[in-house]
Symmetry: C2
Subunit: 586 residues, 2 copies
């Protein structure tokens, strides 16, 4: 009845599917334009044949508009353990252009033994916009201040693709050798077909060695890549925590399980990292303050997410709950009185902080024990001031002295004993005695990289072998594994543009919607496999008393230590290739 | 672990009580300065005695710094029905200043009969900042664009007060004649005491007539003043819906019950009026969207508020639930998935609108029937476009055809039949046949004023008698009562400054924290009493066949009709006094 009337917001209630498909493609999509200088038409015209095909290297991100610098080979020889995944990259380039290109690999034969086609996948390597390291961490509001270029990274799932004239199309091949394969040389053929093209062929050979890599589930390497369910809901345009959302997440999270992922990332408060990613994390647990002043807790989402990850995906080692000490000390709860989400502003040490968290943690402990998850659950922190961490730990221990606590932050002698799982930055070390003591107590000690490191990293512009190097560095440095703070915190348009408002491009994700893997992700898995192989070989060589071989292996591994790469950025590919050659020769 | 760290917000968790008492006084407080031109010291010095006391008129807001223009009288004669409240105003003015002034009235005696002191209250009339009508409705971002002055309005509850030199202090007296008082003239004394002052006295006489006004509970007049519980929580600095909040509201809401208030104002959504008041209304009912897509509803707050108003305050005629068609068509719900309050943007007629409201209303009907409140509950609307109202009504009727619906808005022939309670603006009329039909069906038909009317109104600068006039206008215009959209939507500093960012000052409230009544509120109650007296007299005179007296009464009442005040603003005080003299002479 008040006289002024607001204009009625006629917002579109439902999103036009066609528009959304264009915005968030899952199937076919166009890459962004590569505007960098590249081989001109004349150079391309010098090609002897309209189209060429050759094996290339998985160490190289082939430029899209340049004639690839490859020594043309049609035969590739790989070595693999039983149960191991091995990658290969072929390169197709054409001055004429190709329509409806498809790639297939035959089954691989070794006499009557075969590695079936179902164990082999092929992928067009797609190009995504990246930038450069620049200042590493920090905001990048102005994208023009950084170099921008498209790089080969995405391993596409589409089965056909047109390849434009005067361009290069890399092809990725992945063979997951069955655990029950017989040792021996398996041979097959990669075939590239296209409209009006006589099929082009390459020979592929996998020499299966007589050693077996365990199932990822049984790997010892502690891999912790933080998942972001919120990004999946946004990109797939499905209601958060709906069946459609879980259906979308299942194959993505299976990729992590197959990579040896050990932890479930759970957010137990609103914006544990202050909403730094394109899709902020929200609380999977609701704290409800009733009008009589008592608290109740809704674990529906948390339970569903954890159950999904454990039972459907198979990641069930640890539930890391972020966080009691976020960067912004503002804690959400649903307030029955105001029918709003309200925030308590309190810092560790405050009475209000202890009340808010203490009351919750007591109930959380009870809930986790009911679910049988208590032993697998940790209250997880990022680096915060020591006094704040101490106060937080106090509150946790007061609520339930048996609560596990984890930290991804600097090494702190003062609190390390309290930390069931402590992940420290690249370059920091655990004292040897501490590491031994932690191991004996079943405590986990790993390292992480993030925006800080120019090398090694898994940005979209990083050398592919750096991903492998990163994984191996854990074994070399006596860490038990590796953590990265984001595996699918997608940018607004992750398939086409990996640049973000902060940090070097690709920092926030290494798997793509679809689900699609990436050169980075596959090379990281390769590194984790290498570490498992090193672990197995060490045990074997030690048991055999093969001291010289063991020494040789350890020396090669030791090259990946922080103190051994001082000075110039090493050639990750050379180091990795050298180590892998050794591993496969022992 | 991300490198940039936000500065920690060190917000004060608790509010310093001393500061808050100063900000939101409940006891003693200082008025704002009256900076208007006023009688100078020389004029004041001409006073014969240092301090004077006289009866004044309840029609006048005496200026604080002017010598009051009163014919000095020490004897006041009032007439009252048994059970009626009557008001009087005395004026104290002093050139010397007074310390610790207190006012008392003796019991009133009529032979051996008495009206006890407990039936009499005295109040210092306090000054509050006001502005002027200006453009009526609309924003007032710049207070300097309107006249600002302090006016007498607040009826204070403090028992002593200092009165500065050269100032006027009005004193309000209220006598609530007991229903069982014997008719006759009751006499007593008003005494003003102060430090170093010989007590000053005035005679007061109440002639109790041999007619009885029913208890407010039994009044027929339909009074609907919208309550704002949120303002009380803020001003009293108590947690919303806590026991302390209800304790604070109880005496305030009792004032309404004593005024014949009939409705409970309930907000069933976030910001039904787009947060137009200093304290926005929030949803007293939470709609919870679960991750499986189903809805659940939390009625805790609604139930507590309604139960309080019905059982503790005694207002139990109707629960008006605002609203299904707010100005901003954005509807809140608690979303279990995101652990956030989310909003659906949908307009009446949309599928999403029908789903959101239809699902809720079905459950609400079930809940109300369980509580035994269904017959007393209405889904209430403000004026909206006809098509929107029709669509909303359709959704309500589909959910439960027996749901009552109310509207405070224009008269609409098209939908009036659907409206159990229809309140139309001052100046609009119900067609006679419609009014008769509505009455026969037990439907309620009233009128309202708001920011639109320069006259009559209850702004802090309005003539006191306008409040009485406003109430009487309902009876004169054949409305069944009166609605005002706000009775305690307090400004930031309601005791000292009644100006608001929108509308003329005082538009948003007529009762003050404390609780304190106001000249406006008491004069409105006077008008409602007059209407009850007119109703009773009409029945009586009709039954007696006293045609001439009835005609005289009706003629006097008819003067208060809209069509009879065309042209100049009438003198509300003259009209009211004339009518009240007649009423008390019949």
């Amino acid at each position: 009845m008040r006289a002024f009337i607001l204009s009625i917001l006629l917002l579109c209630g439902t999103i036009c599917p066609a528009q959304q498909q264009d915005k968030y493609p899952l199937g076919e999509y166009e890459e962004l334009t590569d505007s960098k200088p590249h081989d001109d038409k004349e150079t391309w015209e010098e090609m002897g044949t309209p189209t060429s095909l050759s094996w290339g290297s998985t160490d190289i991100r082939y430029r899209k508009l340049d004639i690839p610098d490859v020594r043309k080979t049609t035969r590739l020889q790989l070595k693999a353990w039983k149960g191991e995944r091995v990658n290969a990259q072929a390169v197709l380039w054409t001055k004429a252009g190709l329509t409806d290109v498809s790639v297939s690999v035959s089954e691989l034969r070794n006499g009557s033994s075969i590695i079936p086609q179902s164990a082999i996948s092929t992928h067009f390597v797609r190009y995504v916009m990246t930038d450069e390291f620049g200042p590493g961490c920090g905001q990048r509001p102005d994208k023009t201040k950084f170099d921008s270029l498209v790089v080969a990274d995405v391993l596409d799932i589409n089965k056909t693709l047109d390849v434009k004239a005067c361009s290069t199309q890399p092809l990725w091949v992945k063979v997951w050798v069955p655990t029950d394969a017989k040792a021996g040389k398996y041979k097959g053929t990669l075939t590239v077909s296209a409209k009006d093209l006589k099929p082009m062929k390459l020979q592929i050979e996998v020499n299966v060695l007589n050693r077996t890599l365990p199932d990822p589930k049984d790997w010892v390497y502690y891999l912790d890549l933080w998942q972001n369910p919120y990004a999946v809901a946004r990109y797939y345009q499905v209601p958060l925590w709906s069946q459609a959302h879980f259906d979308a997440m299942r194959p993505l999270m299976k990729m992590l399980a197959d990579a040896g992922q050990r932890t479930i990332t759970a957010s137990i408060m609103h914006k544990p990292w202050n909403g730094q990613t394109e899709d902020h994390f929200d609380s999977m647990i609701t704290r409800i303050k009733k009008i009589d002043g008592t608290w109740s807790y809704d674990y529906t989402v948390f339970d569903k997410w954890v159950t999904f990850m454990m039972d459907e995906v198979g990641i069930d080692d640890m539930i890391c709950c972020y966080t009691m000490i976020p960067w912004a000390l503002s804690f959400d709860y649903y307030d029955q009185a105001t029918s709003r989400v309200q925030f308590i502003e309190a810092k560790p040490g405050d009475k209000a902080y202890a009340e808010y968290w203490g009351t919750f943690l007591k109930d959380f402990s009870r809930h986790l024990r009911t679910k049988g998850w208590f032993e697998k659950t940790a209250i997880s922190m990022d680096e915060r001031p020591m006094e704040a961490m101490r106060e937080a730990i106090k509150v946790v221990k007061e609520a339930d002295p048996e609560f596990k606590i984890t930290l991804a932050g600097n090494y702190h002698a003062e609190i390390q004993e309290d930390l069931h799982y402590l992940c420290i930055p690249f370059g920091q070390k655990f004292p040897d005695d501490v590491l031994a003591s932690r191991k004996s107590k079943g405590q986990i000690s790993t390292y992480y990289t993030c925006c800080t490191e120019a090398f090694p990293n898994t940005f979209t512009f990083s050398d592919p072998a750096e991903a492998t190097w990163t994984a191996i560095h854990a074994t070399a440095g006596n860490y038990e594994g590796y953590l990265r703070w984001a595996v699918n915190s997608w940018t607004a348009d992750p398939l086409r543009d990996s640049r973000f408002r902060t940090w070097p491009a690709g920092d926030t994700y290494s798997i793509y919607p679809g689900p699609r893997s990436s050169i980075r992700f596959e090379r990281l898995v390769e590194g984790v496999q290498d570490c498992e192989k090193i672990r197995i070989l060490r045990e074997e060589l030690e048991a055999e008393g093969a001291t010289r071989k063991l020494k040789k292996l350890n020396e090669e591994v030791a090259k990946f230590r922080f103190e051994n790469i001082d000075g110039n950025k090493p050639s990750a590919s050379e180091m990795v290739n050298s180590l892998e050659r050794l591993i496969n020769s022992l």
